[in-house]
């Protein structure tokens, strides 16, 4: 079993929380993993990506080789397209459709969505809206993780435990909100199929 995942978005959108959740789950599932993340200047509203590698065998590189990623999980639609060269031809593109506009020349959203829809394996959802609906407006990232969770080959309850671990410091309300976001995200996948 091997899963190479690119997690992308804009600094501050909760990319590291997605990565940390998969990380804790991988640890409990006794899998090898490597997860590289971005700190420093780029975190200030710039484009950020995290490479997440999961396997039942030891992993060498911290970075995913070009064209070998099994999945892109993106918290921002334009950012989901930035790392397309990393995605394998049969890989999944799972993205939020709510744009994060902090640049004056942000492209036309319809053009971006059309480009996303061109990929045979895509899940494009308004994760922001779903997160609000479950009463946890900051959990768009976890909605997307939920949507991606079927492909992770990690048990549902292990992923739930990982969410509890990641958000433990933020209190029980935040944990429950994220668990709801995760569940709804996961059910979206079922409805698509």
């Amino acid at each position: 079993m091997k899963k190479d995942i690119i997690i992308s978005g804009v600094g501050g959108q909760g990319i590291l929380s997605i990565a940390a959740t998969i990380g804790y789950a991988a640890l409990e599932a006794n899998l090898y993993f490597k997860q590289s993340e971005v700190h420093g200047m780029s975190q200030r509203g710039g484009e950020v990506q995290s490479h997440f590698r999961l396997s039942d065998k030891p992993i060498a590189s911290d970075l995913i080789p070009e064209g070998k990623a099994d999945m892109i999980i993106s918290v921002e639609p334009m950012e989901s397209l930035r790392y397309i060269p990393m995605l394998s031809p049969d890989g999944w593109l799972i993205t939020n459709t709510t744009p994060y506009i902090n640049i004056p020349n942000y492209p036309d959203l319809d053009t971006i969505i059309a480009a996303i829809k061109k990929f045979p394996n895509n899940i494009a959802i308004n994760a922001e809206k779903i997160a609000k609906e479950v009463g946890s407006p900051k959990s768009a990232n976890i909605v997307l993780l939920g949507a991606a969770s079927r492909y992770l080959d990690i048990d549902y309850d292990i992923l739930q435990n990982a969410i509890r671990t990641v958000f433990r410091k933020k209190g029980e309300d935040v944990i429950q909100g994220n668990l709801r976001a995760f569940e709804v995200g996961r059910s979206i996948f079922n409805n698509l199929k």
């Binding site: 804009v10 600094g11 990565a19 990380g23 804790y24 640890l27 090898y32 993993f33 490597k34 997860q35 590289s36 993340e37 971005v38 700190h39 420093g40 200047m41 780029s42 975190q43 200030r44 509203g45 710039g46 484009e47 030891p58 992993i59 060498a60 590189s61 911290d62 970075l63 995913i64 080789p65 070009e66 064209g67 990623a69 334009m78 950012e79 397209l81 930035r82 790392y83 397309i84 060269p85 990393m86 995605l87 394998s88 031809p89 890989g91 902090n102 640049i103 004056p104 020349n105 942000y106 492209p107 036309d108 053009t111 971006i112 480009a115 061109k118 933020k170 209190g171």
Partner: protein
């Protein structure tokens, strides 16, 4: 055995705590910050009374660590690569005094300059200081090497340089950790004369340092971290260092290579092992993250001997970070790359947060300078460096920590007025104070803006050494009271702020302007924590 999930930086910190660390000293700098931050928030460190300190700069950090080593305790100093330039003086001389308690200096290089102004390779510092270097391949080695490094440092009475790069620093993986050991007991040295580097003694100590070198070489040749992995196809031999090893083996099924590989993670370079691979193979490919340090040494100035390939001869790109694809292509492996990115995407450079106090300061400065801002605003390193980009386009330089004030002085000395320096509170404490003293002594006509957001913001909000005392420091240095102006940078106060700036820009002496408002990121975090604490107390 206990397993933990750790960043490379955190693995170093946990490794240090488990290896009996007594003190860690640092100035924050990407990608090294998380080492000291981990100790700061570690319960184990608190329990064991391990000292941590965010120092004013890397030089003071290395000196404090050397002082702790002087008493026989194990100490660590952490910095980013350019920080080692600041700390070069104590670093190089600590090789001559030698260490007593285990002393490790960690320098985190940033190839591809993700968050830096250059991609210098710290191994050169180790080399010309005669200090042994450890270069971990992965998180586990980073953890294990700290234990090894402290022992090595104590055995040979020499500091050890640990060189990491961004990707290892900021990549997380499972790490097996071991039982912790006790700290050393502090004692004053029995031969303190060795720390007196007056010429008569420095000559003796320098000879002792040189005499240690054959032993250090022998250790490298037998190091558990340097491995010769033999293979049948001798048309090529691969010498690979540090994290580049991972990119190399990633390209081969089950991580098995057809060619002999020499993996290097401990320096001085293991001469016998290099001779072996050089003699056995027709060609040598050197793969290293950073500069062609090993490659150029092997090839030599005259490029004699069998063919050496690598970053210097163009087989691998000379600049930037490596990855599996770059290494694979250099070895002739075909890559079926994914589709190219759709043309619709545009770059998204980093920018100041919405509502950042610096944005008010920059807008006010632009207005106050009218049409003459271009070229007159010298600046520094921090979040406010983003003021060089649109929409502000307010600053004209970012060279090294503290250079804003001193460069502004040089521009003013050349006859220009007004000239402005923009520096943050933490950078001011790091290297701005001495430059300000120069300016005051010469009565240089410069306007120094110390943009005070009460924290070291760019690296994630660490302690800022001069906070709460900036006006006092300026007064103490001799800046005139009436030319120290403090205000809160808010848009609603824009007219008054512009007025203050205009007045001080006119003054033909040293002015210090302090826009002071807490960084939004730390403010949000602090408010959330306080709210939670209050909630917890209610329950």
């Amino acid at each position: 055995m206990k397993k933990m999930v750790l960043l490379g930086d955190e693995a170093i910190a946990q490794g240090a705590l488990d290896a009996g660390l007594s003190g860690i000293y640092a100035y924050p700098g990407t990608p090294s910050t998380e080492i000291t931050e981990y100790v700061q928030f570690s319960k184990q460190a608190l329990q064991d009374n391990v000292k941590y300190s965010w120092c004013t700069n890397e030089k003071t950090a290395v000196e404090a660590a050397l002082g702790m080593s002087y008493t026989g305790l194990r100490a660590m100093a952490c910095m980013k690569h350019v920080g080692l330039n600041v700390a070069a003086d104590p670093f190089i001389n600590s090789a001559i005094t030698g260490a007593i308690g285990g002393l490790i200096i960690v320098s985190a290089d940033d190839p591809s300059m993700h968050s830096s102004q250059n991609e210098q390779d710290s191994r050169f510092y180790g080399d010309f200081s005669f200090i042994p270097i450890l270069e971990p391949t992965d998180q586990q080695e980073a953890y294990d090497m700290v234990h090894y490094g402290f022992d090595f440092s104590e055995k040979y009475e020499i500091p050890v340089l640990m060189r990491i790069t961004t990707r290892l620093a900021h990549s997380r993986s499972n790490v097996n950790v071991r039982e912790k050991r006790e700290q050393n007991i502090p004692l004053l040295p029995t031969d303190p004369i060795r720390f007196v580097l007056m010429p008569f003694n420095a000559r003796k100590r320098y000879k002792i340092l040189l005499d240690k070198q054959p032993k250090l070489l022998e250790e490298s040749e037998n190091s558990p971290f340097n491995k010769y992995l033999d293979a049948p196809d001798k048309t090529l031999g691969i010498i690979v260092s540090g994290i580049a090893y991972n990119y190399l083996v990633e390209n081969y099924e089950n991580h098995q290579l057809p060619y002999p590989v020499l993996k290097i993670s401990q320096y001085p370079l293991p001469k016998k092992l290099i001779e072996q691979i050089y003699n056995e193979c027709d060609e040598i490919m050197v793969i290293e993250e950073g500069f062609p340090f090993i490659e150029d040494k092997l090839r030599g100035f005259l490029g004699l001997g069998s063919k050496i390939r690598g970053r210097s001869d163009g087989s691998i790109p000379r600049t930037g970070e490596l990855n599996p694809s770059i290494v694979g292509k250099a070895l002739g492996i075909e890559y079926s790359t994914g589709k190219s990115a759709p043309e619709v995407i545009v770059p998204r450079p980093p920018s100041l947060c919405q509502g950042c106090p610096h944005s008010v300061t920059f807008e006010a400065l632009n207005t106050a300078l009218g049409g003459q801002s271009t070229g007159r605003v010298l600046s520094d390193i921090g979040c406010y460096t983003l003021g060089a980009l649109a929409p502000y386009n307010s600053i004209n330089s970012c060279v090294d920590m503290g250079a804003s004030i001193t460069m502004a002085k040089g521009v003013a000395d050349a006859g220009f007025h007004p000239v402005v320096a923009v520096i943050g509170d933490s950078t001011f404490s790091h290297s701005g104070i001495t430059g300000l003293l120069d300016a005051v002594n010469d009565k240089s006509p410069i306007t120094v803006i110390i943009a005070d957001n009460l924290t070291t913001a760019m690296t994630g909000g660490q302690f800022s050494p001069a906070v709460g005392r900036i006006e006092d420091i300026c007064r103490g240095i001799g800046v005139e009271e009436e030319h120290i102006r403090v205000f809160e940078p808010h848009y609603k106060k824009m007219n008054a702020i512009v007025q203050i700036l205009k007045e001080e820009l006119e003054y033909e002496g040293v002015s210090v302007i302090i826009p002071r408002r807490e960084c939004l990121v730390t403010l949000t975090k602090r408010t959330r924590e306080e709210r939670q604490k209050a909630k917890a107390e209610k329950v």
